[in-house]
């Protein structure tokens, strides 16, 4: 197998872009919490870069992509990057070094558990969080990644399509967020006190970095440079734009005022939602999907109050709802004209794909929910999940890290 250095260039760029998304997420979330929790919130994303990077090298990658065990998980023969070298592994990417594929996948593994933290913002005990990161990534992320993308994975074998991580990244974390919000319980004062975002300019900056990095996330998932990457690139941008408009429109329509946080939230919803579909649909379809995503996720977020859980930064409503819709939309809009390696959806005459996609959403949802629930319950019993009430009042920055974000 010969390496195509142009593909490699593209993958290095993409990987760097995806790496930037994790700090982007840190800012996106950090701006939405109260001032006293800003560092603690940023840290939950930032430290995932540390923890998951090593986890991935030492066992995570091998579990997710290593030689298949019973269609559900990789074995540990690639642990510590054994056998993961500079020659391509044509099973995953024929034109770039195997290590390039590994590091690019690492960035996905890093951001996924960080996404969950939005649901349990302002109350997660840091020590427990570190352990949660390791457990979740090992027992939830790795299996799902293997099912959907790993050679031998059962969903992949069944024909599930997930271009850039709709199932693996967004549905898995969106659903885990639901479980986490329920197990951890509400923030002190939730529903009663006023808990406004402390700095929306930080959130907007984070959203901008996420959007920028998402070009690497989606277009990089082509694993080569070329027209497929370009299509994913264009779809990503168009869906984000469309969803930010439609979310804004909903706010205008329902409350008379379009908010800036709404426009940014819409963009993220569009990005999360188009992720699974980015390399299977046309730009016009991406716009339609984006418009639906803005409306749907606006509604998803608005519903939160009715269910009574405190998904603090709306991970369920945005990532869970958004990417589930996107994954299902593949079953409608996918066309082999865009990606010969994909299949046609309902609108192109193929009925079966839609069912597979819906089934896969259900499977991943149940698995992620149950596993996350079990992990958290176990941690609750042993280490404790939440900071003490007094620490919560004081804020994570002081209680967990002994620092203050600002000394103005």
């Amino acid at each position: 197998m010969k390496i195509d250095t142009n593909d490699l260039t593209w993958m290095m760029v993409s990987t760097a872009l995806v790496m930037l998304m994790t700090p982007g997420l840190a800012l996106f979330y950090g701006g939405m919490v109260r001032r006293k929790n800003v560092l603690g919130t940023i840290m939950q994303s930032f430290i995932a870069l540390g923890v998951i990077t090593l986890q991935w090298v030492f066992w995570g990658y091998s579990l997710a992509f290593g030689p298949d065990c019973g269609h559900v998980i990789g074995n540990l023969s690639w642990a510590g990057l054994t056998g993961v070298g500079l020659a391509p592994n044509p099973d995953y990417a024929a034109t770039i070094p195997h290590q390039a594929f590994m590091i690019s996948q690492m960035m996905f593994a890093v951001i996924t558990p960080a996404l969950i933290t939005g649901a349990v913002a302002e109350r997660f005990k840091f020590k427990t969080y570190i352990v949660f990161l390791l457990l979740w990534s090992t027992f939830v992320y790795a299996p799902i990644a293997h099912w959907v993308w790993g050679v031998g994975g059962w969903l992949r074998a069944m024909g599930t399509l997930d271009f850039a991580g709709g199932f693996v990244v967004h549905i898995s974390s969106g659903v885990a967020a639901l479980a986490a919000a329920i197990v951890l319980g509400k923030r002190k004062g939730y529903g009663h006190e006023h808990i406004p975002p402390h700095d929306l300019t930080m959130t907007l900056t984070g959203a901008a970095l996420l959007w920028f990095g998402w070009f690497g996330f989606n277009a990089g998932s082509a694993l080569t440079s070329g027209t497929l990457a370009l299509t994913a690139f264009i779809n990503t941008h168009c869906a984000a734009a469309a969803a930010s408009l439609s979310w804004m429109y909903m706010e205008w329509y329902k409350r008379d005022k379009p908010t800036v946080l709404g426009a940014a939230s819409g963009a993220i919803a569009g990005l999360a939602g188009i992720t699974p579909a980015a390399g299977f649909v046309t730009p016009i379809a991406a716009i339609i999907i984006g418009l639906c995503l803005g409306i749907l996720c606006y509604w998803g977020v608005s519903m939160k109050g009715h269910f009574g859980f405190d998904d603090s930064l709306d991970v369920v409503g945005v990532h869970g709802v958004g990417s589930s819709f996107g994954a299902i939309a593949i079953g409608l809009f996918a066309t082999t004209a865009v990606n010969a390696a994909g299949r046609n959806g309902l609108f192109y005459g193929n009925y079966s794909l839609l069912g597979i996609q819906i089934f896969s959403v259900v499977v991943v949802t149940i698995f992620s929910f149950v596993m996350t629930w079990l992990i958290l319950k176990a941690l609750q019993k042993t280490m404790g999940l939440r900071v003490e009430e007094q620490e919560e009042v004081e804020g994570l920055d002081l209680s967990q890290h002994g620092e203050s974000g600002y000394n103005f």
């Binding site: 004081e394 002081l398 002994g402 620092e403």
Partner: protein, 112 residues
């Protein structure tokens, strides 16, 4: 008229405001302040250098009331602000000679 100055914990403020409003006090003014007292501060660490932060965030609530309503205001504030732990704060009563409403030039208790 008296000025009731209450220095309390920040998170008690919304409830105090509500309780005072219900009792018919229609105006007050609020500031974020830093307090120093018996309550211990905390330690912050920046790259290994430890700092003792002695001043704690408090809120100072100022409400000017007619002479007859001082006790009522004070008791409402105490009721809500009291947790029984060190750092609950203080209330000071100061004399006010005159109050004027800028909008209408009303003076005295009328102006409150």
């Amino acid at each position: 008229m008296k000025k009731v100055e209450a220095i309390v914990r920040p998170h008690a403020v919304d409830d105090i405001r509500e309780a005072l409003q219900e009792a018919g006090f229609r105006g007050m003014t609020l500031q974020e302040v830093k307090g120093f007292g018996r309550q211990k501060g905390h330690t912050e660490v920046y790259r290994g250098a430890e700092y003792q932060v002695d001043f704690l965030p408090k809120v100072k609530l100022e409400i000017v009331v007619p002479d007859g309503r001082v006790e009522e205001a004070v008791s409402i504030i105490i009721r809500i602000a009291k947790t029984g732990k060190v750092g609950d704060g203080k209330i000071f009563i100061l004399p006010v000679e005159e109050a004027i409403r800028v909008r209408t030039d009303e003076t005295g208790d009328e102006a409150l």
